[in-house]
Symmetry: C2
Subunit: 191 residues, 2 copies
Protein backbone atom coordinates (compact mmCIF):
# COMPACT_ATOMS: atom_id res chain seq x y z
CA UNK A 1 0.00 0.00 0.00
CA UNK A 2 1.49 3.31 -1.09
CA UNK A 3 1.81 6.39 1.07
CA UNK A 4 0.61 9.80 -0.18
CA UNK A 5 3.37 12.44 -0.24
CA UNK A 6 1.25 15.31 -1.56
CA UNK A 7 1.55 17.29 -4.80
CA UNK A 8 5.32 17.66 -5.27
CA UNK A 9 7.90 17.79 -8.03
CA UNK A 10 9.48 14.42 -7.22
CA UNK A 11 11.10 12.95 -10.33
CA UNK A 12 14.23 10.77 -10.42
CA UNK A 13 16.64 11.36 -12.03
CA UNK A 14 16.61 15.06 -12.94
CA UNK A 15 19.48 16.65 -14.88
CA UNK A 16 21.80 19.53 -13.98
CA UNK A 17 21.68 21.81 -17.00
CA UNK A 18 23.81 24.94 -17.31
CA UNK A 19 21.73 27.25 -19.51
CA UNK A 20 23.82 29.85 -21.35
CA UNK A 21 22.44 33.19 -22.61
CA UNK A 22 23.47 36.68 -23.67
CA UNK A 23 21.73 39.65 -22.10
CA UNK A 24 20.72 42.90 -23.84
CA UNK A 25 24.32 44.18 -23.64
CA UNK A 26 25.79 40.83 -24.75
CA UNK A 27 27.04 39.98 -21.28
CA UNK A 28 27.21 36.17 -21.17
CA UNK A 29 25.46 34.33 -18.35
CA UNK A 30 24.84 30.80 -17.12
CA UNK A 31 22.07 29.51 -14.85
CA UNK A 32 21.62 26.03 -13.38
CA UNK A 33 18.30 24.40 -14.30
CA UNK A 34 16.93 21.01 -13.23
CA UNK A 35 13.42 21.43 -14.60
CA UNK A 36 13.50 20.22 -18.16
CA UNK A 37 14.32 17.42 -20.55
CA UNK A 38 14.26 16.26 -24.15
CA UNK A 39 10.78 16.82 -25.59
CA UNK A 40 10.95 15.81 -29.27
CA UNK A 41 13.12 13.60 -31.49
CA UNK A 42 12.32 15.24 -34.86
CA UNK A 43 13.15 18.10 -34.82
CA UNK A 44 15.43 17.36 -31.85
CA UNK A 45 14.18 19.62 -29.05
CA UNK A 46 14.87 20.25 -25.38
CA UNK A 47 12.66 22.02 -22.84
CA UNK A 48 13.99 24.13 -19.97
CA UNK A 49 11.79 25.92 -17.42
CA UNK A 50 12.69 29.22 -15.78
CA UNK A 51 10.96 31.61 -13.42
CA UNK A 52 10.21 35.06 -14.85
CA UNK A 53 12.20 36.54 -11.96
CA UNK A 54 15.45 35.04 -13.22
CA UNK A 55 18.01 37.11 -15.09
CA UNK A 56 18.12 34.51 -17.85
CA UNK A 57 14.39 34.72 -18.60
CA UNK A 58 14.53 38.05 -20.43
CA UNK A 59 17.73 36.98 -22.21
CA UNK A 60 16.00 33.99 -23.81
CA UNK A 61 12.94 36.06 -24.70
CA UNK A 62 15.14 38.70 -26.39
CA UNK A 63 17.78 36.53 -28.06
CA UNK A 64 15.47 33.59 -28.91
CA UNK A 65 18.35 31.26 -28.19
CA UNK A 66 20.12 29.41 -25.39
CA UNK A 67 22.68 26.69 -24.84
CA UNK A 68 22.45 23.73 -22.44
CA UNK A 69 25.73 22.58 -20.94
CA UNK A 70 26.20 19.30 -19.10
CA UNK A 71 28.89 19.46 -16.43
CA UNK A 72 30.90 16.49 -15.18
CA UNK A 73 30.76 15.45 -11.54
CA UNK A 74 34.17 17.00 -10.85
CA UNK A 75 32.54 20.35 -11.74
CA UNK A 76 29.78 20.24 -9.07
CA UNK A 77 31.08 23.30 -7.24
CA UNK A 78 30.87 25.31 -10.46
CA UNK A 79 27.42 23.91 -11.30
CA UNK A 80 26.15 24.70 -7.81
CA UNK A 81 27.68 28.20 -7.79
CA UNK A 82 25.91 28.98 -11.07
CA UNK A 83 22.57 28.12 -9.45
CA UNK A 84 23.22 30.15 -6.29
CA UNK A 85 23.99 33.59 -7.68
CA UNK A 86 22.29 35.89 -10.18
CA UNK A 87 23.76 37.25 -13.39
CA UNK A 88 22.37 40.62 -12.28
CA UNK A 89 25.02 40.73 -9.55
CA UNK A 90 28.00 38.83 -10.93
CA UNK A 91 29.62 37.76 -14.18
CA UNK A 92 29.56 34.00 -13.60
CA UNK A 93 32.08 33.26 -16.35
CA UNK A 94 34.57 35.59 -14.64
CA UNK A 95 33.80 34.28 -11.14
CA UNK A 96 34.11 30.61 -12.11
CA UNK A 97 37.02 31.10 -14.51
CA UNK A 98 35.06 29.45 -17.34
CA UNK A 99 35.97 30.55 -20.88
CA UNK A 100 33.17 32.11 -22.94
CA UNK A 101 32.62 30.70 -26.41
CA UNK A 102 30.15 32.40 -28.71
CA UNK A 103 28.03 29.83 -30.54
CA UNK A 104 28.51 30.01 -34.29
CA UNK A 105 24.92 28.82 -34.80
CA UNK A 106 22.71 30.56 -32.22
CA UNK A 107 22.84 33.89 -30.36
CA UNK A 108 24.04 32.42 -27.07
CA UNK A 109 27.33 31.56 -25.35
CA UNK A 110 28.66 28.41 -23.71
CA UNK A 111 31.65 27.46 -21.59
CA UNK A 112 34.60 25.74 -23.24
CA UNK A 113 35.37 23.70 -20.07
CA UNK A 114 31.84 22.21 -19.77
CA UNK A 115 32.24 18.95 -21.72
CA UNK A 116 28.88 18.71 -23.55
CA UNK A 117 26.81 21.57 -24.95
CA UNK A 118 23.52 21.69 -26.86
CA UNK A 119 22.99 24.82 -28.99
CA UNK A 120 19.32 25.75 -29.14
CA UNK A 121 17.07 28.07 -31.13
CA UNK A 122 13.87 29.06 -29.30
CA UNK A 123 10.85 27.34 -30.87
CA UNK A 124 8.01 27.60 -28.31
CA UNK A 125 7.31 29.47 -25.07
CA UNK A 126 4.70 27.99 -22.74
CA UNK A 127 3.50 29.85 -19.65
CA UNK A 128 2.65 27.20 -17.07
CA UNK A 129 2.65 28.92 -13.66
CA UNK A 130 5.61 30.02 -11.58
CA UNK A 131 7.77 28.63 -14.39
CA UNK A 132 7.76 29.37 -18.10
CA UNK A 133 8.85 26.56 -20.36
CA UNK A 134 11.15 27.33 -23.28
CA UNK A 135 11.34 24.68 -25.99
CA UNK A 136 14.53 24.94 -28.02
CA UNK A 137 15.39 23.16 -31.23
CA UNK A 138 18.81 21.55 -30.82
CA UNK A 139 20.73 22.76 -33.89
CA UNK A 140 24.03 21.18 -32.88
CA UNK A 141 25.68 19.34 -30.00
CA UNK A 142 29.32 20.03 -29.26
CA UNK A 143 31.51 17.89 -27.05
CA UNK A 144 34.93 17.74 -25.55
CA UNK A 145 36.65 14.78 -27.33
CA UNK A 146 37.66 13.35 -23.92
CA UNK A 147 34.03 12.40 -23.13
CA UNK A 148 33.40 10.59 -26.42
CA UNK A 149 33.56 6.87 -27.07
CA UNK A 150 35.03 5.28 -30.19
CA UNK A 151 31.81 5.76 -32.19
CA UNK A 152 31.99 9.53 -31.62
CA UNK A 153 29.05 9.79 -29.22
CA UNK A 154 29.24 10.61 -25.49
CA UNK A 155 30.21 7.81 -23.14
CA UNK A 156 28.17 8.09 -19.92
CA UNK A 157 31.08 6.98 -17.73
CA UNK A 158 33.54 9.41 -19.35
CA UNK A 159 31.07 12.31 -19.27
CA UNK A 160 29.99 11.50 -15.67
CA UNK A 161 26.97 13.85 -15.63
CA UNK A 162 25.52 15.04 -12.32
CA UNK A 163 22.15 13.76 -11.08
CA UNK A 164 20.09 16.26 -9.06
CA UNK A 165 18.00 15.06 -6.11
CA UNK A 166 14.91 17.26 -6.28
CA UNK A 167 13.38 16.30 -2.91
CA UNK A 168 13.06 19.85 -1.84
CA UNK A 169 11.25 21.28 1.17
CA UNK A 170 13.63 18.91 2.96
CA UNK A 171 17.31 18.74 3.76
CA UNK A 172 17.81 16.32 0.87
CA UNK A 173 18.67 18.52 -2.02
CA UNK A 174 21.89 17.09 -3.30
CA UNK A 175 23.89 15.77 -6.19
CA UNK A 176 24.72 12.20 -7.12
CA UNK A 177 26.99 10.63 -9.67
CA UNK A 178 25.94 8.14 -12.31
CA UNK A 179 26.33 4.49 -11.33
CA UNK A 180 27.29 1.32 -13.15
CA UNK A 181 25.92 0.09 -16.47
CA UNK A 182 22.88 -2.11 -15.83
CA UNK A 183 21.91 -3.41 -19.25
CA UNK A 184 21.05 -2.69 -22.86
CA UNK A 185 17.92 -0.71 -23.64
CA UNK A 186 15.35 -2.18 -26.04
CA UNK A 187 16.92 -5.53 -25.32
CA UNK A 188 16.96 -6.73 -21.68
CA UNK A 189 13.13 -6.82 -21.56
CA UNK A 190 12.62 -8.88 -24.74
CA UNK A 191 10.30 -11.85 -24.40
CA UNK B 1 38.20 22.80 -28.91
CA UNK B 2 34.87 21.03 -29.03
CA UNK B 3 33.80 18.57 -31.70
CA UNK B 4 30.45 18.93 -33.49
CA UNK B 5 28.17 15.89 -33.10
CA UNK B 6 25.23 17.22 -35.14
CA UNK B 7 21.66 17.97 -34.11
CA UNK B 8 20.87 15.14 -31.68
CA UNK B 9 18.86 14.52 -28.51
CA UNK B 10 21.89 14.05 -26.27
CA UNK B 11 20.99 14.94 -22.67
CA UNK B 12 22.42 13.30 -19.54
CA UNK B 13 20.81 12.05 -17.38
CA UNK B 14 17.36 11.26 -18.78
CA UNK B 15 14.72 9.46 -16.69
CA UNK B 16 12.91 6.17 -17.27
CA UNK B 17 9.23 7.02 -16.78
CA UNK B 18 6.47 4.42 -16.89
CA UNK B 19 3.44 6.37 -18.09
CA UNK B 20 0.13 4.79 -17.06
CA UNK B 21 -3.15 5.33 -18.92
CA UNK B 22 -6.61 3.85 -19.49
CA UNK B 23 -7.80 3.33 -23.03
CA UNK B 24 -11.36 3.87 -24.34
CA UNK B 25 -12.46 0.53 -22.87
CA UNK B 26 -10.65 1.15 -19.57
CA UNK B 27 -7.90 -1.33 -20.36
CA UNK B 28 -4.88 -0.19 -18.36
CA UNK B 29 -1.58 0.36 -20.12
CA UNK B 30 1.98 1.45 -19.40
CA UNK B 31 4.57 2.89 -21.78
CA UNK B 32 8.23 3.70 -21.13
CA UNK B 33 9.13 7.34 -21.80
CA UNK B 34 12.53 9.04 -21.52
CA UNK B 35 11.57 12.35 -23.14
CA UNK B 36 10.25 14.55 -20.35
CA UNK B 37 10.91 16.14 -17.00
CA UNK B 38 9.57 18.48 -14.35
CA UNK B 39 8.45 21.74 -16.00
CA UNK B 40 6.93 23.88 -13.22
CA UNK B 41 7.12 24.12 -9.42
CA UNK B 42 3.81 25.91 -8.80
CA UNK B 43 1.55 24.24 -9.78
CA UNK B 44 3.83 21.19 -9.70
CA UNK B 45 3.90 19.90 -13.29
CA UNK B 46 5.65 17.24 -15.32
CA UNK B 47 5.99 16.99 -19.10
CA UNK B 48 6.07 13.72 -21.05
CA UNK B 49 6.41 13.49 -24.84
CA UNK B 50 4.82 10.78 -26.95
CA UNK B 51 4.55 10.06 -30.65
CA UNK B 52 1.02 10.16 -32.08
CA UNK B 53 1.55 6.59 -33.29
CA UNK B 54 1.71 5.23 -29.74
CA UNK B 55 -1.23 3.48 -28.13
CA UNK B 56 -0.94 5.76 -25.09
CA UNK B 57 -1.32 8.98 -27.10
CA UNK B 58 -5.07 8.64 -27.68
CA UNK B 59 -5.55 7.46 -24.09
CA UNK B 60 -4.12 10.69 -22.67
CA UNK B 61 -6.09 12.80 -25.15
CA UNK B 62 -9.33 11.03 -24.17
CA UNK B 63 -8.89 10.61 -20.41
CA UNK B 64 -6.98 13.89 -19.84
CA UNK B 65 -4.89 12.11 -17.23
CA UNK B 66 -1.81 9.92 -16.81
CA UNK B 67 0.49 8.61 -14.12
CA UNK B 68 4.30 8.57 -14.12
CA UNK B 69 5.93 5.64 -12.34
CA UNK B 70 9.60 5.48 -11.42
CA UNK B 71 10.97 1.95 -11.37
CA UNK B 72 13.94 0.80 -9.31
CA UNK B 73 17.04 -0.61 -10.97
CA UNK B 74 16.04 -4.18 -10.05
CA UNK B 75 12.98 -3.64 -12.30
CA UNK B 76 14.90 -2.84 -15.51
CA UNK B 77 13.61 -5.89 -17.36
CA UNK B 78 10.03 -4.75 -16.66
CA UNK B 79 10.81 -1.13 -17.59
CA UNK B 80 12.46 -2.23 -20.84
CA UNK B 81 9.65 -4.68 -21.70
CA UNK B 82 7.10 -1.88 -21.29
CA UNK B 83 9.01 0.18 -23.87
CA UNK B 84 9.37 -2.66 -26.36
CA UNK B 85 5.76 -3.77 -26.88
CA UNK B 86 2.51 -1.96 -27.67
CA UNK B 87 -0.65 -1.91 -25.57
CA UNK B 88 -2.47 -2.59 -28.85
CA UNK B 89 -1.05 -6.11 -28.85
CA UNK B 90 -0.61 -7.05 -25.19
CA UNK B 91 -1.91 -6.24 -21.73
CA UNK B 92 1.39 -5.18 -20.16
CA UNK B 93 0.08 -5.45 -16.61
CA UNK B 94 -0.83 -9.08 -17.25
CA UNK B 95 2.43 -9.86 -19.09
CA UNK B 96 4.66 -8.30 -16.41
CA UNK B 97 2.61 -9.47 -13.44
CA UNK B 98 2.24 -5.90 -12.17
CA UNK B 99 -0.89 -5.16 -10.10
CA UNK B 100 -3.20 -2.46 -11.47
CA UNK B 101 -4.25 0.26 -9.04
CA UNK B 102 -6.86 2.78 -10.16
CA UNK B 103 -5.86 6.29 -9.07
CA UNK B 104 -8.38 7.82 -6.68
CA UNK B 105 -7.53 11.29 -8.02
CA UNK B 106 -7.13 11.04 -11.80
CA UNK B 107 -8.57 8.82 -14.53
CA UNK B 108 -5.44 6.67 -14.92
CA UNK B 109 -3.91 3.52 -13.44
CA UNK B 110 -0.53 2.75 -11.91
CA UNK B 111 1.35 -0.34 -10.79
CA UNK B 112 1.47 -1.17 -7.09
CA UNK B 113 4.97 -2.68 -7.41
CA UNK B 114 6.56 0.43 -9.01
CA UNK B 115 7.85 2.28 -5.94
CA UNK B 116 7.11 5.93 -6.84
CA UNK B 117 4.14 7.25 -8.79
CA UNK B 118 3.06 10.77 -9.81
CA UNK B 119 -0.67 11.18 -10.52
CA UNK B 120 -1.25 13.79 -13.22
CA UNK B 121 -4.16 15.75 -14.68
CA UNK B 122 -3.58 16.96 -18.25
CA UNK B 123 -3.04 20.72 -18.33
CA UNK B 124 -1.46 21.50 -21.73
CA UNK B 125 -0.83 19.72 -25.01
CA UNK B 126 1.94 21.07 -27.22
CA UNK B 127 2.50 19.75 -30.74
CA UNK B 128 6.23 19.96 -31.41
CA UNK B 129 7.02 17.62 -34.29
CA UNK B 130 7.30 13.83 -34.23
CA UNK B 131 6.47 14.08 -30.52
CA UNK B 132 3.57 15.77 -28.75
CA UNK B 133 4.29 17.09 -25.29
CA UNK B 134 1.71 16.52 -22.56
CA UNK B 135 2.05 18.74 -19.48
CA UNK B 136 0.36 17.23 -16.45
CA UNK B 137 -0.31 18.85 -13.10
CA UNK B 138 0.99 16.54 -10.38
CA UNK B 139 -1.97 16.22 -8.02
CA UNK B 140 -0.33 13.68 -5.71
CA UNK B 141 2.78 11.55 -5.40
CA UNK B 142 2.47 8.08 -3.91
CA UNK B 143 5.37 5.98 -2.72
CA UNK B 144 6.23 2.60 -1.38
CA UNK B 145 7.30 3.24 2.27
CA UNK B 146 10.48 1.18 1.66
CA UNK B 147 11.94 3.93 -0.58
CA UNK B 148 11.34 6.78 1.88
CA UNK B 149 13.80 8.32 4.29
CA UNK B 150 12.99 9.36 7.86
CA UNK B 151 11.56 12.73 6.75
CA UNK B 152 8.98 10.95 4.59
CA UNK B 153 10.48 11.91 1.20
CA UNK B 154 12.17 9.53 -1.26
CA UNK B 155 15.75 8.54 -0.58
CA UNK B 156 17.68 8.35 -3.88
CA UNK B 157 19.72 5.34 -2.78
CA UNK B 158 16.67 3.41 -1.55
CA UNK B 159 14.62 4.27 -4.65
CA UNK B 160 17.57 3.52 -6.99
CA UNK B 161 15.96 5.02 -10.13
CA UNK B 162 17.20 4.01 -13.57
CA UNK B 163 19.18 6.43 -15.74
CA UNK B 164 18.63 6.11 -19.50
CA UNK B 165 21.53 6.62 -21.91
CA UNK B 166 19.91 8.31 -24.86
CA UNK B 167 22.85 8.13 -27.29
CA UNK B 168 20.83 6.51 -29.98
CA UNK B 169 21.71 5.90 -33.61
CA UNK B 170 24.50 3.92 -31.94
CA UNK B 171 24.88 0.73 -29.99
CA UNK B 172 24.92 2.70 -26.74
CA UNK B 173 21.35 2.77 -25.66
CA UNK B 174 21.47 1.42 -22.17
CA UNK B 175 20.56 1.82 -18.55
CA UNK B 176 22.70 2.93 -15.64
CA UNK B 177 22.17 3.04 -11.91
CA UNK B 178 22.54 6.11 -9.74
CA UNK B 179 25.96 6.57 -8.15
CA UNK B 180 27.23 7.90 -4.84
CA UNK B 181 26.18 11.13 -3.15
CA UNK B 182 28.50 13.93 -4.28
CA UNK B 183 27.44 16.92 -2.19
CA UNK B 184 24.67 19.22 -1.01
CA UNK B 185 22.85 21.37 -3.56
CA UNK B 186 22.65 25.14 -2.99
CA UNK B 187 25.62 24.71 -0.69
CA UNK B 188 28.83 23.23 -2.18
CA UNK B 189 29.21 26.17 -4.59
CA UNK B 190 28.85 28.96 -1.99
CA UNK B 191 31.53 31.66 -2.10
Amino acid sequence: MKKSLGARTLLYPTPVMLVGTYDHDRKPNLVTVAWGGICCSQPPCIAVSLRKATYSYACIVERKAFTVGIASENQIKIADYIGLYSGRDVNKFVETGLSVVRSDLVDAPYAEEIPLVLECRLLHTLEIGLHTQFVGEIVDVKANPAVLSQDGLPDMLKLRPIVFDSAHHSGHRGYHGVGPYLGEAFSVGKK
